[in-house]
């Protein structure tokens, strides 16, 4: 079987797997973003009731493995009466895991805004939430976006793990095809290429564009 024949036969299946990958990725990114902002701000709070839980959450999810978290959610939670589909388990594990890393980026970004900016904002008699919204947050974007871009690419790569709890994503389809054809080089090689295209041709340019946009907003471009 030539590579072209292989593609003609299996590319549609791989493409449908890739669609699932994109779905998991988008849902998990949204969840992770919400968690990052919430827990990043909590982590900065001087109130222990906020800071304590945020610290425990972040250290716990960064200290253990994504795969362990995924298995735990998919295999152990049902024993406690909570059964989730592979898709939901995958999104939940990815969102919780990457949210913990994202929260640290948010915290670092806010902390990197010079003290003088807070003081100037306070001198203008802005309320704390006004200081945050109109002075501090906009300045964090150019600082935060490059690490966020790296994290998002990592998240795309990590979606492959959902295949291990039988969500039918690109990796899962590739494993299936490999098991029936044993054309491993073609199968996994093509899967790698598709992941590469998704990351380099779609995701990264999009994230760079966001960075340029943010830099222009704060007058640093």
């Amino acid at each position: 079987m030539s590579y072209w024949e292989f593609l003609a036969e299996y590319l549609p299946k791989l493409a449908s797997g890739a669609l699932m990958t994109i779905g998991v990725m988008i849902c998990a990114t949204l969840l992770a973003a919400a968690i990052s902002i919430l827990f990043g701000l909590m982590r900065l709070s001087r109130n222990w009731a906020f800071q304590g839980p945020a610290t425990v959450y972040i250290e716990f999810f960064r200290g253990t493995s994504l795969l362990v978290q995924l298995y735990w959610i998919y295999y152990v939670l049902p024993l406690m009466g909570l059964t989730l589909t592979p898709f939901v388990s995958g999104v939940l594990a990815l969102g919780l895991n990457f949210g913990a890393y994202g929260a640290e980026i948010v915290r670092g970004g806010i902390q990197s805004v010079p003290r003088g900016q807070w003081e100037a904002a306070r001198a203008l008699n802005l309320s704390v939430s006004q200081q945050m919204r109109s002075i501090i947050i906009p300045q964090t974007f150019p600082i935060v976006l490059p690490p966020v871009a790296n994290l998002t690419v990592e998240l795309l790569k990590a979606t492959a793990l959902v295949a291990l709890i039988s969500a039918v994503d690109l990796m899962f389809v590739a494993k299936q095809i490999n098991a029936t054809t044993w054309l491993s080089a073609q199968t996994f090689g093509t899967a790698l290429l598709i992941y590469y295209v998704m990351a380099r041709i779609a995701l990264i340019p999009f994230l760079r564009w966001l960075e340029v946009l943010a830099a222009r907003k704060v007058g640093k471009a």
Binding site: W72, K157, S184, A185
Partner: protein, 224 residues
């Protein structure tokens, strides 16, 4: 609702601890390979030949932007297709070394670029050779810059080792899977894996932070 069983926990503990040893071994050996591969990949982007630099750069980008899990399967299944016998362990070490080598090459590159340009210029003004400039001035300053990144990837590799279970390396996750299949109890094995990871990676991360501070102090950069 399933109850936690302590007697079962202690029964499987020896096997879990033995598997922990394998996990640590995999992480350690994988890391050493990655440290060396990273160096090669970094130097490969600084050769006099532009073609080589571009090719290495593209290879690094490719490996960095595709999933470790897929690469693991690729190496493990494709090698036999070309008549190469690679055990699960060897495939795993090769893949981890390559994958994280690309990250470490970026750490090295960033560290070299983090040494101020003025340091290079001062060395030229003092007429140091390039090799001497690297050895005595640039590398000692680049090392503390590289250290946090190098430490992160040590912990990072450790946390990716559960993936090796998928090709049959007998590390922690693999053992937990096997115990689950034998006893139909998943609560204790998977939870224990989580805790073992936590007790190893949290102190390691803290220790690395201490080490960074100490190195940076020893280098005299009290303000860095």
């Amino acid at each position: 609702m399933m109850e936690w069983r302590w007697d079962f926990t202690f029964e499987i503990l020896p096997r879990m601890l033995w598997a922990t040893g394998n996990t640590l071994l995999a992480a350690g050996v994988g890391y050493l390979i990655a440290v060396v591969v990273g160096l090669v990949l970094m130097l490969g982007q600084r050769t006099p030949s532009r073609i080589i630099n571009v090719l290495v750069r593209e290879a690094v980008e490719f490996i960095r932007s595709t999933p470790l899990l897929v690469q693991l399967f690729f190496v493990f299944f494709v090698a036999p297709q070309f008549g190469i016998k690679l055990s699960a362990w060897n495939s795993a070490m090769l893949t981890i070394g390559l994958h994280f080598g690309t990250y470490l090459s970026e750490v090295y590159r960033g560290a070299l670029e983090g040494v101020p340009k003025g340091q290079w210029e001062a060395c030229r003004a003092l007429n140091f050779s390039t090799a001497y400039t690297y050895r005595r001035v640039v590398l000692p300053q680049a090392f503390p810059i590289a250290l946090p990144g190098m430490g992160n990837y040590l912990v990072g590799i450790f946390k990716e080792t559960p993936l090796l279970a998928t090709i049959g390396v007998a590390e922690l996750m693999h053992t937990a899977n096997a115990l689950g299949a034998e006893t139909y109890r998943y609560l204790e094995p998977y939870t224990m894996v989580g805790f073992i990871f936590l007790i190893i990676s949290l102190p390691t991360a803290m220790g690395l932070r201490r080490l960074e501070a100490a190195v940076s102090r020893a280098q005299g950069n009290t303000h860095l």
